[in-house]
Symmetry: C2
Subunit: 198 residues, 2 copies
Protein backbone atom coordinates (compact mmCIF):
# COMPACT_ATOMS: atom_id res chain seq x y z
CA UNK A 1 0.00 0.00 0.00
CA UNK A 2 1.37 3.41 -0.92
CA UNK A 3 1.78 6.21 1.59
CA UNK A 4 -1.70 7.48 2.32
CA UNK A 5 -2.64 10.31 -0.02
CA UNK A 6 -3.58 12.99 2.50
CA UNK A 7 -0.21 12.54 4.16
CA UNK A 8 1.46 13.21 0.83
CA UNK A 9 -0.13 16.57 0.32
CA UNK A 10 0.64 17.69 3.85
CA UNK A 11 4.30 16.92 3.21
CA UNK A 12 4.06 18.81 -0.06
CA UNK A 13 2.47 21.89 1.50
CA UNK A 14 5.01 21.91 4.31
CA UNK A 15 7.81 22.34 1.78
CA UNK A 16 6.53 25.88 1.45
CA UNK A 17 4.87 26.90 4.71
CA UNK A 18 4.31 25.79 8.29
CA UNK A 19 0.90 24.33 9.07
CA UNK A 20 -1.06 24.43 12.32
CA UNK A 21 -2.87 21.26 13.34
CA UNK A 22 -6.07 22.99 12.36
CA UNK A 23 -4.72 23.77 8.89
CA UNK A 24 -3.63 20.17 8.47
CA UNK A 25 -7.07 18.91 9.34
CA UNK A 26 -8.72 21.36 6.98
CA UNK A 27 -6.43 20.36 4.12
CA UNK A 28 -6.86 16.65 4.77
CA UNK A 29 -10.59 17.09 4.82
CA UNK A 30 -10.91 19.08 1.61
CA UNK A 31 -8.58 17.08 -0.65
CA UNK A 32 -10.38 13.92 -1.72
CA UNK A 33 -8.45 10.93 -3.12
CA UNK A 34 -9.80 9.62 -6.42
CA UNK A 35 -8.69 6.98 -8.89
CA UNK A 36 -8.86 7.46 -12.63
CA UNK A 37 -8.09 4.87 -15.25
CA UNK A 38 -5.86 5.29 -18.27
CA UNK A 39 -7.59 7.24 -21.06
CA UNK A 40 -10.18 8.63 -18.69
CA UNK A 41 -10.94 12.38 -18.90
CA UNK A 42 -11.12 14.62 -15.85
CA UNK A 43 -11.59 17.92 -17.72
CA UNK A 44 -13.37 18.51 -21.02
CA UNK A 45 -13.93 21.60 -23.19
CA UNK A 46 -17.21 23.35 -22.68
CA UNK A 47 -17.53 22.29 -19.05
CA UNK A 48 -16.23 24.38 -16.17
CA UNK A 49 -13.23 22.77 -14.46
CA UNK A 50 -14.67 22.63 -10.96
CA UNK A 51 -11.63 20.88 -9.51
CA UNK A 52 -7.90 21.14 -9.34
CA UNK A 53 -5.90 17.91 -9.07
CA UNK A 54 -2.68 16.98 -7.29
CA UNK A 55 -1.02 13.87 -8.66
CA UNK A 56 -0.25 11.18 -6.07
CA UNK A 57 0.54 8.51 -8.63
CA UNK A 58 0.28 8.32 -12.39
CA UNK A 59 0.68 10.58 -15.43
CA UNK A 60 -1.71 12.92 -17.24
CA UNK A 61 -1.77 15.35 -20.11
CA UNK A 62 -3.75 18.51 -20.78
CA UNK A 63 -4.27 19.41 -24.43
CA UNK A 64 -6.36 21.47 -26.81
CA UNK A 65 -7.61 20.63 -30.28
CA UNK A 66 -6.74 23.44 -32.70
CA UNK A 67 -8.90 24.68 -35.57
CA UNK A 68 -6.93 22.39 -37.84
CA UNK A 69 -7.99 19.41 -35.73
CA UNK A 70 -4.47 18.93 -34.42
CA UNK A 71 -3.82 18.04 -30.80
CA UNK A 72 -1.54 20.39 -28.84
CA UNK A 73 -0.21 19.37 -25.43
CA UNK A 74 -0.40 22.27 -22.99
CA UNK A 75 0.48 20.52 -19.76
CA UNK A 76 2.02 17.29 -18.54
CA UNK A 77 1.86 16.01 -14.98
CA UNK A 78 3.52 13.29 -12.92
CA UNK A 79 3.68 12.70 -9.16
CA UNK A 80 3.57 15.92 -7.11
CA UNK A 81 2.41 18.08 -10.01
CA UNK A 82 -0.88 19.92 -10.26
CA UNK A 83 -3.16 19.72 -13.23
CA UNK A 84 -6.44 21.17 -14.48
CA UNK A 85 -7.48 23.71 -17.09
CA UNK A 86 -5.88 26.63 -15.27
CA UNK A 87 -7.95 29.35 -16.94
CA UNK A 88 -11.17 27.48 -16.50
CA UNK A 89 -10.49 26.69 -12.86
CA UNK A 90 -9.31 30.15 -11.80
CA UNK A 91 -12.11 32.06 -13.50
CA UNK A 92 -14.70 29.27 -13.26
CA UNK A 93 -15.45 29.57 -16.94
CA UNK A 94 -15.89 26.83 -19.55
CA UNK A 95 -12.72 24.90 -20.29
CA UNK A 96 -10.94 24.78 -23.64
CA UNK A 97 -8.69 21.90 -22.61
CA UNK A 98 -9.00 18.18 -22.24
CA UNK A 99 -7.20 16.58 -19.31
CA UNK A 100 -6.71 12.84 -19.76
CA UNK A 101 -4.95 10.16 -17.76
CA UNK A 102 -1.99 8.58 -19.58
CA UNK A 103 -1.72 5.91 -16.88
CA UNK A 104 -3.98 4.66 -14.12
CA UNK A 105 -3.77 7.47 -11.56
CA UNK A 106 -4.39 8.29 -7.94
CA UNK A 107 -5.19 11.97 -7.55
CA UNK A 108 -6.17 14.35 -4.81
CA UNK A 109 -9.07 16.46 -5.94
CA UNK A 110 -10.11 19.79 -4.50
CA UNK A 111 -13.28 21.65 -5.43
CA UNK A 112 -13.06 25.33 -6.29
CA UNK A 113 -15.33 26.34 -3.40
CA UNK A 114 -13.35 24.27 -0.93
CA UNK A 115 -10.13 25.89 -2.08
CA UNK A 116 -11.72 29.30 -1.58
CA UNK A 117 -12.75 28.22 1.88
CA UNK A 118 -9.22 27.11 2.78
CA UNK A 119 -7.78 30.38 1.50
CA UNK A 120 -10.30 32.47 3.40
CA UNK A 121 -10.07 30.60 6.66
CA UNK A 122 -6.29 30.57 7.01
CA UNK A 123 -3.71 33.21 6.17
CA UNK A 124 -1.10 30.44 5.98
CA UNK A 125 -3.05 28.50 3.40
CA UNK A 126 -3.67 31.67 1.43
CA UNK A 127 0.10 32.07 1.40
CA UNK A 128 0.52 28.52 0.16
CA UNK A 129 -1.82 29.03 -2.78
CA UNK A 130 -0.14 32.34 -3.53
CA UNK A 131 3.22 30.60 -3.68
CA UNK A 132 2.08 27.86 -6.02
CA UNK A 133 0.40 30.42 -8.29
CA UNK A 134 3.65 32.40 -8.42
CA UNK A 135 5.60 29.28 -9.22
CA UNK A 136 3.13 28.34 -11.93
CA UNK A 137 3.52 31.79 -13.47
CA UNK A 138 7.32 31.60 -13.28
CA UNK A 139 7.25 28.14 -14.83
CA UNK A 140 5.10 29.29 -17.71
CA UNK A 141 7.24 32.33 -18.32
CA UNK A 142 10.28 30.09 -18.63
CA UNK A 143 8.40 27.98 -21.12
CA UNK A 144 7.44 31.05 -23.15
CA UNK A 145 11.08 32.14 -23.24
CA UNK A 146 12.22 28.70 -24.36
CA UNK A 147 9.57 28.58 -27.08
CA UNK A 148 10.53 32.01 -28.38
CA UNK A 149 14.28 31.59 -28.28
CA UNK A 150 15.15 27.97 -29.00
CA UNK A 151 15.04 25.68 -32.01
CA UNK A 152 13.14 22.41 -31.94
CA UNK A 153 16.29 20.45 -31.14
CA UNK A 154 17.31 22.83 -28.36
CA UNK A 155 13.84 22.62 -26.84
CA UNK A 156 14.09 18.86 -26.81
CA UNK A 157 17.53 19.03 -25.20
CA UNK A 158 16.31 21.36 -22.44
CA UNK A 159 13.34 19.10 -21.84
CA UNK A 160 15.49 15.96 -21.65
CA UNK A 161 17.81 17.58 -19.15
CA UNK A 162 15.11 18.99 -16.93
CA UNK A 163 12.57 16.16 -17.05
CA UNK A 164 14.36 12.90 -17.75
CA UNK A 165 11.57 11.01 -15.99
CA UNK A 166 8.99 12.31 -18.43
CA UNK A 167 10.86 10.68 -21.33
CA UNK A 168 10.32 7.29 -19.74
CA UNK A 169 6.63 7.65 -19.09
CA UNK A 170 5.08 10.13 -21.51
CA UNK A 171 4.50 8.97 -25.11
CA UNK A 172 6.75 10.69 -27.65
CA UNK A 173 3.89 12.24 -29.55
CA UNK A 174 2.69 14.02 -26.40
CA UNK A 175 6.18 15.33 -25.66
CA UNK A 176 6.66 16.46 -29.27
CA UNK A 177 3.37 18.31 -29.12
CA UNK A 178 4.28 19.85 -25.74
CA UNK A 179 7.49 21.12 -27.30
CA UNK A 180 5.67 22.54 -30.30
CA UNK A 181 6.80 20.13 -33.00
CA UNK A 182 5.45 17.06 -34.77
CA UNK A 183 6.08 13.46 -33.72
CA UNK A 184 7.88 12.84 -36.98
CA UNK A 185 10.26 15.71 -36.48
CA UNK A 186 11.06 14.71 -32.91
CA UNK A 187 11.77 11.22 -34.15
CA UNK A 188 14.23 12.63 -36.68
CA UNK A 189 15.96 14.69 -34.00
CA UNK A 190 16.41 11.61 -31.83
CA UNK A 191 17.68 9.61 -34.75
CA UNK A 192 20.23 12.30 -35.56
CA UNK A 193 21.46 12.26 -31.95
CA UNK A 194 21.97 8.49 -31.98
CA UNK A 195 23.99 8.70 -35.18
CA UNK A 196 26.06 11.58 -33.85
CA UNK A 197 27.10 9.53 -30.84
CA UNK A 198 28.90 6.95 -32.99
Amino acid sequence: METSSPERIITYVEQFIKLSEQDKNAVTEKFKPIKVKKRQFIVQPGFVARNRYFVIRGALKGYVIGDDGQEHTIQLALEDWWISDYNSYIFQQPATMFVMALEDCTLLQIKYEDEQFLKNSSHRLETFFRIIAERAAAFMQRRIIINLTQSAEERYDSFMQRYPLMLQRIPQYAIASYLGMTTEFLSKIRNKKVKRKR
Copy 2:
Protein backbone atom coordinates in the same frame (compact mmCIF):
# COMPACT_ATOMS: atom_id res chain seq x y z
CA MET B 1 -0.96 67.01 -13.09
CA GLU B 2 -2.01 63.40 -13.30
CA THR B 3 -4.01 61.60 -10.61
CA SER B 4 -1.55 60.99 -7.81
CA SER B 5 0.17 57.63 -8.20
CA PRO B 6 -0.61 56.08 -4.82
CA GLU B 7 -4.31 56.74 -5.39
CA ARG B 8 -4.08 54.84 -8.65
CA ILE B 9 -2.79 51.67 -7.09
CA ILE B 10 -5.37 51.75 -4.32
CA THR B 11 -8.10 51.90 -6.98
CA TYR B 12 -6.40 49.05 -8.79
CA VAL B 13 -6.15 46.85 -5.71
CA GLU B 14 -9.74 47.53 -4.79
CA GLN B 15 -10.87 46.01 -8.07
CA PHE B 16 -9.97 42.70 -6.48
CA ILE B 17 -10.33 43.01 -2.72
CA LYS B 18 -11.56 45.34 0.01
CA LEU B 19 -8.93 47.29 1.89
CA SER B 20 -8.93 48.48 5.48
CA GLU B 21 -7.60 51.97 6.16
CA GLN B 22 -4.55 50.34 7.61
CA ASP B 23 -3.99 48.30 4.44
CA LYS B 24 -4.35 51.42 2.33
CA ASN B 25 -1.74 53.22 4.36
CA ALA B 26 0.63 50.29 4.19
CA VAL B 27 0.25 50.03 0.42
CA THR B 28 0.67 53.75 -0.11
CA GLU B 29 3.77 53.73 2.01
CA LYS B 30 5.49 50.79 0.30
CA PHE B 31 4.86 51.67 -3.33
CA LYS B 32 7.27 54.43 -4.33
CA PRO B 33 6.65 56.57 -7.43
CA ILE B 34 9.60 56.81 -9.78
CA LYS B 35 10.19 58.32 -13.20
CA VAL B 36 12.20 56.63 -15.91
CA LYS B 37 13.15 58.08 -19.24
CA LYS B 38 12.75 56.47 -22.65
CA ARG B 39 15.47 53.85 -23.29
CA GLN B 40 16.33 53.60 -19.61
CA PHE B 41 16.70 50.11 -18.13
CA ILE B 42 15.09 49.05 -14.86
CA VAL B 43 16.11 45.37 -14.99
CA GLN B 44 19.25 43.87 -16.47
CA PRO B 45 20.55 40.30 -16.86
CA GLY B 46 22.91 39.16 -14.17
CA PHE B 47 21.42 41.39 -11.49
CA VAL B 48 18.62 40.29 -9.17
CA ALA B 49 15.35 42.09 -9.90
CA ARG B 50 14.79 43.55 -6.46
CA ASN B 51 11.63 45.38 -7.46
CA ARG B 52 8.33 44.86 -9.17
CA TYR B 53 6.83 47.79 -11.07
CA PHE B 54 3.27 48.96 -11.63
CA VAL B 55 2.85 51.24 -14.62
CA ILE B 56 1.15 54.56 -13.89
CA ARG B 57 2.05 56.12 -17.22
CA GLY B 58 4.21 55.03 -20.11
CA ALA B 59 5.21 51.86 -21.96
CA LEU B 60 7.93 49.28 -21.35
CA LYS B 61 9.22 46.03 -22.77
CA GLY B 62 10.94 43.04 -21.23
CA TYR B 63 13.17 41.02 -23.52
CA VAL B 64 15.96 38.48 -23.65
CA ILE B 65 18.89 38.20 -26.02
CA GLY B 66 19.10 34.69 -27.47
CA ASP B 67 22.29 32.75 -28.19
CA ASP B 68 22.00 33.95 -31.78
CA GLY B 69 22.11 37.56 -30.54
CA GLN B 70 18.47 38.10 -31.48
CA GLU B 71 16.17 40.10 -29.25
CA HIS B 72 12.99 38.35 -28.08
CA THR B 73 10.21 40.35 -26.40
CA ILE B 74 8.84 38.47 -23.40
CA GLN B 75 6.60 41.11 -21.90
CA LEU B 76 5.00 44.40 -22.81
CA ALA B 77 3.43 46.83 -20.37
CA LEU B 78 1.23 49.91 -20.51
CA GLU B 79 -0.78 51.72 -17.82
CA ASP B 80 -2.05 49.41 -15.06
CA TRP B 81 0.20 46.51 -16.05
CA TRP B 82 2.93 45.02 -13.92
CA ILE B 83 6.44 44.41 -15.15
CA SER B 84 9.73 42.95 -13.96
CA ASP B 85 11.72 39.78 -14.63
CA TYR B 86 9.13 37.52 -13.01
CA ASN B 87 11.48 34.61 -12.37
CA SER B 88 14.17 36.80 -10.99
CA TYR B 89 11.82 38.71 -8.73
CA ILE B 90 9.92 35.73 -7.34
CA PHE B 91 12.99 33.63 -6.60
CA GLN B 92 15.35 36.56 -6.01
CA GLN B 93 17.85 35.11 -8.43
CA PRO B 94 19.83 36.82 -11.19
CA ALA B 95 17.69 38.07 -14.06
CA THR B 96 17.93 36.90 -17.65
CA MET B 97 15.76 39.72 -18.97
CA PHE B 98 16.20 43.36 -19.78
CA VAL B 99 13.32 45.67 -18.94
CA MET B 100 13.51 48.96 -20.81
CA ALA B 101 11.23 52.00 -21.04
CA LEU B 102 9.81 52.58 -24.53
CA GLU B 103 8.45 55.97 -23.45
CA ASP B 104 9.08 58.28 -20.52
CA CYS B 105 7.32 56.49 -17.66
CA THR B 106 5.90 57.01 -14.21
CA LEU B 107 6.03 53.77 -12.25
CA LEU B 108 5.23 52.58 -8.78
CA GLN B 109 8.06 50.50 -7.47
CA ILE B 110 7.87 47.96 -4.68
CA LYS B 111 10.86 46.22 -3.14
CA TYR B 112 10.76 42.46 -2.70
CA GLU B 113 11.12 42.73 1.09
CA ASP B 114 8.36 45.31 1.31
CA GLU B 115 6.04 43.10 -0.70
CA GLN B 116 6.80 40.22 1.68
CA PHE B 117 6.02 42.52 4.56
CA LEU B 118 2.65 43.53 3.08
CA LYS B 119 1.75 39.90 2.44
CA ASN B 120 2.72 38.83 5.95
CA SER B 121 1.04 41.66 7.74
CA SER B 122 -2.37 41.44 6.07
CA HIS B 123 -4.39 38.44 4.98
CA ARG B 124 -6.25 40.70 2.54
CA LEU B 125 -3.07 41.86 0.86
CA GLU B 126 -1.83 38.27 0.72
CA THR B 127 -5.06 37.52 -1.12
CA PHE B 128 -4.45 40.37 -3.51
CA PHE B 129 -0.99 39.14 -4.45
CA ARG B 130 -2.34 35.61 -4.78
CA ILE B 131 -4.97 36.86 -7.23
CA ILE B 132 -2.53 38.75 -9.41
CA ALA B 133 -0.19 35.75 -9.47
CA GLU B 134 -3.08 33.51 -10.58
CA ARG B 135 -4.03 35.98 -13.25
CA ALA B 136 -0.44 36.20 -14.44
CA ALA B 137 -0.32 32.41 -14.70
CA ALA B 138 -3.64 32.27 -16.56
CA PHE B 139 -2.47 35.01 -18.91
CA MET B 140 0.74 33.18 -19.70
CA GLN B 141 -1.06 29.91 -20.25
CA ARG B 142 -3.30 31.58 -22.81
CA ARG B 143 -0.21 32.92 -24.52
CA ILE B 144 1.37 29.46 -24.60
CA ILE B 145 -1.79 28.05 -26.16
CA ILE B 146 -1.88 30.78 -28.80
CA ASN B 147 1.79 30.25 -29.63
CA LEU B 148 1.32 26.51 -29.99
CA THR B 149 -1.90 26.57 -31.98
CA GLN B 150 -1.94 29.63 -34.21
CA SER B 151 -0.09 30.78 -37.33
CA ALA B 152 1.82 34.06 -37.39
CA GLU B 153 -1.08 35.87 -39.02
CA GLU B 154 -3.61 34.48 -36.56
CA ARG B 155 -1.41 35.51 -33.64
CA TYR B 156 -1.25 39.02 -35.00
CA ASP B 157 -5.03 39.09 -35.45
CA SER B 158 -5.64 37.95 -31.86
CA PHE B 159 -3.19 40.54 -30.63
CA MET B 160 -4.79 43.35 -32.62
CA GLN B 161 -8.22 42.46 -31.31
CA ARG B 162 -7.17 42.13 -27.71
CA TYR B 163 -4.67 44.99 -27.46
CA PRO B 164 -5.50 47.65 -30.02
CA LEU B 165 -3.83 50.28 -27.82
CA MET B 166 -0.52 48.47 -28.00
CA LEU B 167 -0.45 48.83 -31.77
CA GLN B 168 -0.46 52.59 -31.39
CA ARG B 169 2.31 52.82 -28.86
CA ILE B 170 4.62 49.82 -29.15
CA PRO B 171 7.08 49.75 -32.07
CA GLN B 172 6.30 47.07 -34.63
CA TYR B 173 9.55 45.23 -34.15
CA ALA B 174 8.77 44.74 -30.45
CA ILE B 175 5.29 43.44 -31.24
CA ALA B 176 6.61 41.12 -33.93
CA SER B 177 9.14 39.73 -31.51
CA TYR B 178 6.49 39.36 -28.80
CA LEU B 179 4.42 37.35 -31.24
CA GLY B 180 7.36 35.16 -32.19
CA MET B 181 8.04 36.40 -35.71
CA THR B 182 10.41 38.79 -37.46
CA THR B 183 9.69 42.46 -38.14
CA GLU B 184 9.88 41.76 -41.85
CA PHE B 185 7.29 39.05 -41.71
CA LEU B 186 4.88 41.13 -39.66
CA SER B 187 5.28 43.92 -42.16
CA LYS B 188 4.31 41.52 -44.96
CA ILE B 189 1.27 40.35 -43.03
CA ARG B 190 0.09 43.92 -42.58
CA ASN B 191 0.69 44.70 -46.22
CA LYS B 192 -1.34 41.68 -47.27
CA LYS B 193 -4.23 42.83 -45.08
CA VAL B 194 -4.27 46.29 -46.61
CA LYS B 195 -4.38 44.84 -50.12
CA ARG B 196 -7.13 42.40 -49.19
CA LYS B 197 -9.35 45.25 -48.02
CA ARG B 198 -9.59 46.75 -51.51
